[in-house]
Subunit: 200 residues, 2 copies
Amino acid sequence: MSFSPLLDELIKSLQCLPGVGPKSAQRMAFYLLDKNRSGASKLSHVLASAIDNIGHCQSCRTFTEDDICRLCLNPKRQQSGQLCVVESPADLLAIEQTAQFSGTYFVLMGHLSPLDGIGPNDIGLDILATRLAKGNISELILATNPTVEGEATAYYIAELAREQQINVSRIAHGVPVGGELELVDGTTLSHSFAGRISIK
Amino acid sequence: MSFSPLLDELIKSLQCLPGVGPKSAQRMAFYLLDKNRSGASKLSHVLASAIDNIGHCQSCRTFTEDDICRLCLNPKRQQSGQLCVVESPADLLAIEQTAQFSGTYFVLMGHLSPLDGIGPNDIGLDILATRLAKGNISELILATNPTVEGEATAYYIAELAREQQINVSRIAHGVPVGGELELVDGTTLSHSFAGRISIK
Ligand SMILES: [Zn+2]
Ligand SMILES: [Zn+2]
C-alpha cells in the first residue's frame, strides 16, 4: 500500500508474531488503530519492558525478570526435594496448572539435538549438574516430550542423576484420559502397554 | 502463573489483539522471548509510533501519519474526477490491490446506524459534502458493503451527490467470479439477476 508508510511498517512488524501472516497483521493493525489504541499503547510498553527485563532464572532457567524466579525462591518447593525437568516454560506452566506438583523445576529451553549442534551445555545441563551435586534433591522427574529428542535428552539426564545417586523417574506416557483407544497412534499404545500397572 | 508477573502482564497485553486468546498470547510471548527479541523490540517501537502518529487523512479519512494522505495528494488521482466511497481502510486496500481504480477515496470508517447513534457526521458525511461541493468530482462510486446498513448508507450518500448534480454509481453485486451458482446465497443471486447486463 502507499497511503501510509508507518501503517505499512506496523503491518510488517506485527508479522513477527507466530501464526500471523499479512492478512491477519492488516486486520490487527486496523483494529488497534480504530478500536483499541489504549490496549495497543499498553502492549507497546509491556513488550519493551519484557524484552528489556525478562531473562532466565539462574536456578531453573525459566523466563523471569528476577535473578531467581519466584518458584525457585519458594521455601516449600525447595523443601520438597523433587525436581522436574521440562523442555520449555510452556511445559512448566502446563504442569503448574494441574496443581499436582509442588517441587521445583529445571527448564532446558530445548532438547539435545547433536545434528543442530545443540549439546548438553546449550540446554543448561552444566547448571543442572551443579544443582544435583548440592545434595538436596531426592527425586528427579523427567517430563521432557515423548519424542526421539525428548527421550534421548531424558536418558542423558537420567545418567547425570544416577551419578549422584538420585532417584530418577519419567512421567507416564499412554492413552490420554478420555481418549479412545482406536484413535491413539501405535507408538503411544506401545508405551501404554509397556508402562502398564498391575491392579491390586 | 506466578513465576514472572511481567510475563503474566505480557500475555495479558497480547490479548488486546483481535483473535488472540490466552493460549495464543502465551505461545506468542514465549516465542518472542525465546526466538525473536529483536522483532518484538521493533514491534514495540513501531506500535508506539503508530499510535502516536497515525490519525485520519483530512481529505479522505483513511489512516495516515500525514495531514493529507499520499493517495489524496497524488495529482493524477485528483484529476481523474472519480471518488470512491468505502466503509473502511481495509476496503480501500482491497480495491487498491485490484489496480483497477485510479481516482480518490472517501473512507467512512463505518456506516450509518441510527440504532447505535451513528449519524451522518459520525461517518464524515459533512466532510464528504464539502468535497462534493468543490465541483471537481464527476463520478461518485459507492462501494459500501452489500449489507442493510451499507445499502442505506449508499442510498443516503447518493442523495448528497445528486443535490450537486454528480453522477453516482454503485459497484455490482452478484455471483463471485469462479464461484458456483448453487453455493451462492439467495440475496446475492437476486442481486445478480437484478443487475444483469445484456450481451451484445
Ligand atoms: Zn527458577
Ligand atoms: Zn486521503
